[in-house]
Symmetry: C2
Subunit: 350 residues, 2 copies
Amino acid sequence: MSLFDASGCPFPRDDETGRVVLAHGEGGRATRRLLEEHIFPRLNPAGLPAWEDAAVLPALAGAPVLSTDSFVVSPLFFPGGDIGSLAVYGTVNDLLMRGARPLWLSLSMILEEGLPLSTLDAVVDRIAFAVRRCDVKIIAGDTKVVPRGAADGMFLTTTGLGELRTPSPPGPSTLQIGDAILVSGPIGRHGIAVLSAREQLRFDPPPRSDCGHLSEAIEALYAAGIQPRALRDATRGGVAAVLHEWAQDSGRTLLVDESQVPIGAEVRGVAELLGLDPLSIANEGTFLAAVAPKQAEQALAALRSVELHRRAAIIGVVRETGVTPVVVRRFSGQEQPLLEPNGAPLPRIC
Amino acid sequence: MSLFDASGCPFPRDDETGRVVLAHGEGGRATRRLLEEHIFPRLNPAGLPAWEDAAVLPALAGAPVLSTDSFVVSPLFFPGGDIGSLAVYGTVNDLLMRGARPLWLSLSMILEEGLPLSTLDAVVDRIAFAVRRCDVKIIAGDTKVVPRGAADGMFLTTTGLGELRTPSPPGPSTLQIGDAILVSGPIGRHGIAVLSAREQLRFDPPPRSDCGHLSEAIEALYAAGIQPRALRDATRGGVAAVLHEWAQDSGRTLLVDESQVPIGAEVRGVAELLGLDPLSIANEGTFLAAVAPKQAEQALAALRSVELHRRAAIIGVVRETGVTPVVVRRFSGQEQPLLEPNGAPLPRIC
């Protein structure tokens, strides 16, 4: 039994098939060619290796902040985004939310045998665009290939390393009664866009994801002298998941006023059609900020000064601890418990 | 159309099925329960959260070193190892090889719907054991669930952050003519163990992987005053892939003497049976070191002082640049080019 044919090459070469082959993941010549021909030139136009097995970095000015996320979104491309930019923005945003200046990224790719190399190229181009926009660099990486059927196209994992901007990072344990809760823009756009693309729901125009980075919003807040108590991008589980996390970490009750939450007409329409609550739908470039009451209006103005966030709004307040962790004031004026999201309305949303 | 049933719970609960369900990946209550019941207590026996979305770390003493790898090994458990310890040791070893002291890890898990929770528990137990052995901490993490058929059981991605031990890290660009090349132990054990387990080849005793961390070996080298020119664990592509990488980065020709390479009888037997060259078979706890000629014997003694590495050997030398990047001296005494590994003899080996 030999696993090789006579040429020593048991699998089709990529340049014959135009697709990812198992040999691309084996750490030998084919892996090197995949990196040198398809990945490094896109990530590093000078043609040098874009990443090392382990990268030595310059010393940091502030305390290190580390964040990681895997991305399994389906489909790989959707209106307003794609798995590549999601993987960059998602991890950059996690660092920003923790009070860090994002600096470095690692990128690990799990590719399915048979993935068209043109698809890989397109995703890597989007990654390259996103890292330039966020002013971060990919400095370490890895590529694995799994046999056809063992993964669905492509999964990405990014880890971000940044440095803390201020000695005391924002965090929900510092929430105070009376703090205002702001949202940076209309909610639910990412979840509805991915769901519509995956299920081929034909809306016209197709709903677009808010997939993007939050650097400008955060810069605007700090430039205005705001000291946010807590920041959190409202990804999986949406605004409701963040409010529940904050309620748990702070021991306070949070109130959200439905009439103040910005929601686009298309998201509202699709959510109603599908029986989904926009408060539980995923976002990818929209975050919640909690600020002291006297900084609320100033924080709102700072956010709205950024074109992407001109629909930012004050949507809630931190209350004394009540019987339920999160309360929603419905349009009717009635207050109800807001349940922690507990279904899987939107698997593979990010 | 509603994606929920009347209870708001569209998928079976994990405690009904004993398996991973899609809701475990949705960022709401089920995700929190998975973390609080299955993951955090194993990684952090005090019961506190084992990781954060983004973790703020103490300042580093040396320059930061970052490394990442995804692990897709099949089967998840094999003689001598498992995907969990592989994911910890693999990334810790990458940091060690770059001259860093490993400190922190992030862990991202992609789980397939239907994975038995008992399997997840067993893997997380192995991760917990491995991080204790390496004296590192997992401080950031993520969990995604993909529908049945979209991934094969479980994929893990770890990213390691460490600090540089010395101002000038080892690297193959510093290789000098005459440098000795050492291997830390018998080669090919991981690849043969995984292949035997996957293909259910019934060898008795079953070949065991060398899956393990290299902290003790590296400590022994530094304690003996060795300044390694280059260090590299011989994972995918085996010893041959490392030699080719070093030859390319240094511009030198490397010679490896087949008669000096330690190979266990069981690896030699299985490799011959399968038509594989042990020099190209993956290892997971075995590395190459290049050292100055006058430090060669001392380095060998230091490695052999560690129980795990008592079969370390000097296997090669750095030569002037010749016509082929890597030359192997066969048992016959004849010298031949050693080709860069270029097949996929062992997909999903790590």
